[in-house]
Subunit: 661 residues, 2 copies
């Protein structure tokens, strides 16, 4: 994880300072610079230490909560609250003595560089240093480009803040990858139509509705009307639309809420993050290319933005899926699984390179890792050794946990310490109202339309729950803090932070209430579900057999994909049966033989069978893992009871290796 | 992991540029800046991608080697070789079109800031931007401090290079922590005297001998004599002294070389890294404070440097050990082990905060995490749940693998791409000669002295093997690249890189040869060793019962510590028996009762017994883990054979819960 990355504000000064200045000459300026660099390095360390302690505190408190079975507060909610408290202490408890010294400069008299239209990358400042004997000696210092200054007086010292780009390059990728990697794919694919509808269409509608409404609101408030364009409010709509129902998901897990509702809530939240980041990028591009702040509309620019959206989304998806498949091929056709450490390293490196490839191609790395994660879980996971499965799952679970809690405690702290907040009561009120309405516009009309063509309809109480699962989280905040150059953007950041904080704490805290109000069935046993669905699934239909033509088509698409996946993708990418020898036409025999491993053809040990019905296997292990890590070990799995091994409780798909182990 | 961290050279420009410039105004300069920032971000991503691909290539190749049981090349050696190849391709294959634009500047005419002795933190450049209509508009851009420029013409573009500080803040900590966490403590403590002698005294002697010899050499070469001071060569001695015998260790593991030789080689290499980093820091401080390049000697300054060394080393050790013990207490007295994810997160956060605390206190984070790792393994590990033990072990093993291979491939690549190399044949030759001699001066005289007082003497063939295990690695390189401001430092970097590359490839490749030349016993069964030592150990003596008074004293110290550890530290920090109720005097009864958990008093399940003889348990699991990850699963442990569970193959310590499970 790197580029740009952890560039805490003055990190650069510090490190390069330390590096360049640790020379052997002990002159006054050098020593002072060295001291300063050391001081800054210590401040940096303290800064990180603050967040580390916040996380330790969160972990210990949430343990107490879980220990006492209190469910009203999720760890992320707690992280926000602790963040707020510590932020307030930093803001009001310490006066900042270290000030940054600015010096206005002009080019050297010859002025030859003034002809360029872009500011230079580096400035060289000749700095006269007075020596002990009264003479001066010129030293040259390098300064590197940081960016434009909009208000000279707004450059106050940043305390406990990080470069916003770290969220996109360090914090979000593991969260999103984990979401893809831990997706319960069976239920996800079964509800794919509804999930795609909510995530793609719903998020877009929600963005535009919020954008339009906010714009209307703002026209009513004179002092805001001038500083916001329609594109600004549309951008706000895009960034506030993605949901992040961590608390809800975790409580669903604890209480074993119906898996289909679970799939709808989780699936939507995973995909709408991807939609929102690409959508906001397209709006940004549209704004940059064809606007100069007037808020007008150009048809061609609009279609270009639409093209941008489709291109970036689909190419990122393609890169992610491809890299996932390449990893699957590598793990299938080499025996690297004999060396779990190498295998895990390969897995991590391939996944990380997906992010980098997408970023290097000017696409969206976050979207690419999401689909890479889904493919890794769907194909590669089945080829991995037992050791690597566990290792990769646990690794990303841990990274996800740390990253999530870090970002939420940062949201809390930055509420007080980030210097570019702009509290505007009107905008905040409008923001809350529109966010609620945007969620409603996403859920209810689309559910109605979906129900026209869905066989197991989405009941009204599920719709209410979906509405209430509209918590906002990491993605909204990351998008909001990425750009805080104007008053408008600063007001958006403040409103977004407040919406995130309040929804996470209030909506999150009321989840169990919602569940009982809406009579959502809890304690549903997943195994039962699995069995009752088996007939439908093995028959090839993915439970989408609806009535209208549109849904039929979708069901057809899903069916085609399901068949293709079972007959060609899985045999190619994993050790599953049927092999390509069975599914490819006879003329492709030689090719099929090359692409079929001997392991795939001989079914002689346990590992093989685990591979074969990988889907179910993965998901059950999944559930198991979730439970063991969220609930006490003793109560669910028992500690080392040999009679209960996750591997052997699987229910096999009828038609494949269909016997209970 | 953060501060300073991943600041690839222009990362800052990129990220802050992107962040500040993604505004809605679409003027020419903005668009150009935006394009430039995007380009730089892409270059950054490509840069990281290069290393990711190098690592993927290394993983796949090393798999082939292991698969074919080729042992002549370790993965780090391979990473270096691939790095060299790719570095050469980058250097000679691409011409660099993107140039950095520099502009010399002077302060604005009023010149009020010239009075300060330290250069300002930020420069503000007013930049006239010509608009389409012929007028110009002033924009102000901020530039942040980077460091002093020594040679204006030496600022060529850096390709594929990173800020050297990332090694100290990102790459080394997990490597060093893993070394501490995976130390086979039993054998380490048994050979503690010898290991401390080699690491502390040996490394210091070696540094001074190399420093003095190099200085003598350099006086013979006229063009070098002027640019090197004695402190420079002493610094070189300190940075080239620590050994990093990764290849050797890995082959020792594969071939089951005698565990005591293993402990000597590994233990020394772990500790001499810590000694070298503190030693070089003290030399640096000494140089900075009291020298101005003349190479003289001041008694007081020398003693202050000595004080620095002792203070920094012992305080870092203290912080590391304390944080390790605090983690042990936290995991003992809370039931956080019921939630493995929280527990693992706590473990990681506490370990990372150790690094940060040490850095924030101006101490050495790397040394602190080493001792934190040792304490975590010695105490905390026994309190962890089975899930967390595995998770933390696997996590750090993976991080260690990635970090190690990254640094070695970087050594390879930077040999060609780092612009500050200075090839001086004389210095390189002298460096190689002195490095060899320094190693000899460390091993042979000290072994002779040790053998005077050791009961199981260190035979001559072991000494030869110790000499041959003097590979140089990550720490030497990181120390050398940290400071490349002068010609002397650049020559040191080049020589260090070459020494690292050649020792890793040649000495590493010849390890099996060495083993057979020196008749080192291989295939030694650790269990046998364990049993034969049990009598000695349970009697309280740590096999150090030597003959001379000096060794007796050391054995006495070790015995006192061993007793204290068994009677007070372990009962306090872990769930082991005997409890404090048994060991503390009667008057401390109430206190002892508070500090003893009910879990510790009732011995009713397996988990408890695992805790009790934790040392052996950990080490055997250790060996097991090592083997599973280095050797094929099938050949050593079998895949899911239920009769062979690592937990149940332990040999219990007689006198404790001494029955075979």
């Amino acid at each position: 994880m790197a580029d740009s990355a952890m560039t805490v504000r003055y990190a650069v000064v510090v490190t390069i300072g330390v590096f360049l200045l640790k020379s052997c000459s002990g002159e006054e300026t050098d020593i002072k610079l060295d001291k300063k660099a050391q001081l800054l390095h210590r401040l940096d360390s303290l800064n990180l230490l603050l967040y580390t302690f916040l996380l330790i505190l969160t972990v210990l408190t949430i343990w107490t909560f879980k220990h006492r079975r209190l469910r009203f507060l999720h760890e992320t909610g707690l992280a926000v609250i602790y963040g707020l408290i510590v932020g307030a202490i930093i803001r009001y408890g310490f006066t900042n003595s270290s000030t940054i010294v600015h010096m206005p400069v002009v080019p050297e008299p010859d002025g030859s560089h003034y002809n360029q239209s872009v500011p230079p990358d580096t400035l060289w400042l000749r700095f006269p240093e007075s020596k002990g004997d009264g003479t001066t000696k010129n030293k040259t210092f390098a300064y590197s480009f940081r960016g434009e200054i909009y208000k000279r007086d707004n450059e106050i010292d940043l305390k406990a803040t990080f470069d916003p780009e770290i969220f996109f390059n360090i914090i979000l990728p593991p969260i999103i990858f984990h979401a893809g990697y831990s997706l319960k794919r069976k239920y996800f694919f079964r509800n794919l139509g509804a999930i795609l509808t909510y995530a793609l269409i719903g998020t877009t509608i929600s963005s535009f509705v919020i954008g339009a409404l906010m714009y209307t609101f703002i026209q009513l408030i004179p002092h805001l009307a001038s500083s916001f364009t329609f594109l600004d409010t549309l951008y706000f709509g895009a960034l506030i639309s993605p949901t992040d129902p961590l608390t809800i998901i975790s409580i669903f897990n604890d209480l074993h809420v119906d898996v289909n509702l679970y799939a709808l809530v989780f699936g939507e939240s995973v995909l709408n993050d991807a939609v929102a980041i690409v959508l906001s990028g397209s709006i940004q591009n549209y704004a940059e290319r064809y606007q100069s702040g007037s808020g007008g509309f150009e048809t061609w620019a609009f279609f270009q933005a639409l093209g941008d959206f489709i291109r970036i989304f689909s190419l990122s998806l393609f890169i992610g899926a491809t890299m996932g498949c390449v990893t699957a091929l590598l793990t299938k056709f080499t025996r690297v699984r004999d060396f779990p450490l190498l295998e895990s390293a390969l897995f991590v490196l391939m996944s990380y390179s997906t992010f980098l490839i997408a970023e290097a191609s000017d696409l969206t790395g976050v979207v690419a890792v999401l689909f890479c994660g889904i493919c890794q879980a769907h194909y590669t996971y089945n080829n991995l050794s037992v050791d690597s499965r566990q290792r990769t799952k646990q690794l990303f679970e841990l990274l996800n946990f740390l990253a999530e809690n870090f970002i939420f405690s940062y949201i809390g702290v930055s509420m007080f310490t980030f210097p570019k907040h702009h509290f505007d009561p009107g905008f905040i009120f409008a923001g809350f109202f529109c966010a609620l309405l945007g969620r409603a516009v996403n859920v209810y009309p689309l559910s109605f339309l979906l129900n026209l063509g869905r066989n197991p309809k989405i009941p009204l109480n599920y719709q209410h729950m979906l509405f209430c699962a509209g918590l906002r989280g990491a993605m909204s905040f990351a998008l909001a803090i990425r750009n805080t150059v104007s008053d408008a953007r600063q007001a958006m950041l403040t409103t977004t932070s407040l919406i995130v904080i309040l929804t996470v704490i209030l909506q999150g805290g009321a989840t169990t209430q919602f569940l009982s109000w809406f009579n959502i069935p809890v304690g549903v046993d997943e195994e039962v579900e699995v069995l009752s669905y088996n007939g439908v699934r093995s028959g090839g239909s993915l439970s989408m057999g609806g009535s209208t033509s549109k849904t039929n088509e979708k069901a057809l698409l899903a069916r085609i994909w399901g068949n293709f996946d079972t007959h060609y993708m899985k045999p190619l990418l994993t050790h599953s049966r049927p092999t390509l020898l069975d599914t490819l036409p006879v003329c492709c025999g030689p090719l099929a033989r090359i692409l079929t491993t001997t392991q795939q053809m001989t079914q002689d040990n346990v590992a093989r069978r685990v591979d074969s019905d990988s889907d179910l296997c993965l998901e059950d292990r999944d559930t198991d893992r979730r439970r063991t890590s969220i609930q006490p070990l003793g109560t669910v799995t028992g500690e080392v009871s040999p009679g209960q091994q996750p591997l052997h409780t699987r229910v096999a798909l009828p038609g494949l290796i269909g016997r209970h182990l």
